[in-house]
Symmetry: C2
Subunit: 217 residues, 2 copies
DNA sequence: AATAATTTTTAGTTTTGTCTAAATTTTAAT
DNA sequence: ATTAAAATTTAGACAAAACTAAAAATTATT
């Protein structure tokens, strides 16, 4: 499997878990910053290899094979992220590009030994689940902060947007995985939230709230 | 820089340190298991980028730029080998292929943090020197066992051949880096050596002796 | 020094993954 | 139900890196 094929599978996998429908050619092209015609070419190749179900003009979905392959790439990506943060002292906003390269290293032995070395983590530094060697994922109950009612006490357990900009904003506001977040009130006009984060009061926009995953406690 | 360009630079670097002349197209082709015509194509490209000195039919050598680039690839390869053996419990005959992939990961921050994490090692698991971030190499005095006189006491400090077969042979004979090796006698007929390795007597062929680096003590 | 053998380069082709531009299909709007 | 708009696919081209076969240069041999 080539790097390019792996990147397509991964993208289709991510789009599938966010949305829950057949994935369109354009959606893939946009996410990968490439052209729709390139996507079509690749979908044909992946279909040929029984990694995707593809019918002209009808969108695409992963086959069993494709899903497993995608999960193994995601597994590698997230384990490497844990390694970078836990062992090499990277911060959570620095790991993405490097993990993007490391996820393509081909060695089952390597990734399983890395998994052991890291203590078989179940989540990456952004709170996303790490598939095990069989592709099984432990789903943790979580909701977007924007979908929670007032006066609820929560714990921050993940981020939806993993861009450097967003993660550095969170650092600045001292919001990290594990931070306690209580919703004090909601502004009707713009859906901004008045929060208490680790006993400090803070106002965040709905855009922020729509990118933070929390767990009710 | 592409993977392929990096592989050519690395090969030229290795050939240059073993031999000490201009490197021929055929030597590169043989080492890389490719065709001479492919090598010519790549040499033109590398010359274009000022990474090699190349004159048609005259062989090739690395420029300053090319030498530094090659050393950085070797640095990555060897640091990853240390990581695999020291942290992930690989044996020294299992690391080559994986390191061959990892050496192409592009991130200065990654490799320098890895270096720190490993305690700034100066040698890889086969006894080869690891260039530092500036390309400096600490040269350790060492000779092939085949070039040492009788009755000399030595320490094994490296291997010339890093193939799985050779390394597993050494494992079987309980020869490792740090093993004490004394030459008891040499058979004139085939240049085989009668050794005492860690107080165990052992006979090895000249082929073995020609692939073991030792240090006189 | 002339010729044979070897090495190296050139020319032209292939594969992978991308692109542009045109054609086709689907979806939306009147 | 047509037509307009949007999405998707096809056709053809290109760059990278490899190959084969033929040509050219170098080296070795007589």
């Amino acid at each position: 499997m080539t790097f390019s094929e792996e990147n397509y599978l991964k993208t289709i996998y991510h789009l599938t878990t966010h949305l829950n429908t057949e994935i369109s050619t354009n959606a893939i092209a946009e996410k990968m910053e490439t052209k729709a015609s390139s996507v079509t070419d690749m979908l044909k190749k992946l279909a040929e290899k029984d990694l995707v179900n593809y019918k002209k003009y009808q969108g695409v979905s992963l086959t069993e094979n494709g899903q497993l392959a995608a999960k193994m790439i995601v597994r590698k990506h997230r384990l490497w992220e844990v390694f970078l943060v836990e062992k090499l002292d990277f911060s959570w906003d620095e790991v993405h590009d490097v993990a993007e390269q490391l996820e393509h290293i081909k060695s089952e032995k390597l990734i399983n030994k890395l998994d052991t070395f890291l203590g078989n983590p179940t989540e990456d530094p952004h709170g996303d689940p790490i598939p095990d060697a069989n592709g099984n994922i432990i789903k943790v109950e979580k909701q977007l902060l924007s979908e929670i009612g007032i006066a609820k006490k929560t714990i921050c357990v993940g981020v939806r947007d993993t861009s450097t900009e967003f993660l550095q904003y969170l650092d600045k506001q001292k919001i990290a995985l594990g931070s306690s977040i209580e919703i004090l009130s909601k502004e009707e006009f713009d859906a901004s939230l008045h929060l208490k984060v680790n006993n400090q009061e803070l106002v965040v926009s709905s855009k922020i709230a729509g990118n933070l995953y929390v767990q009710l406690i």
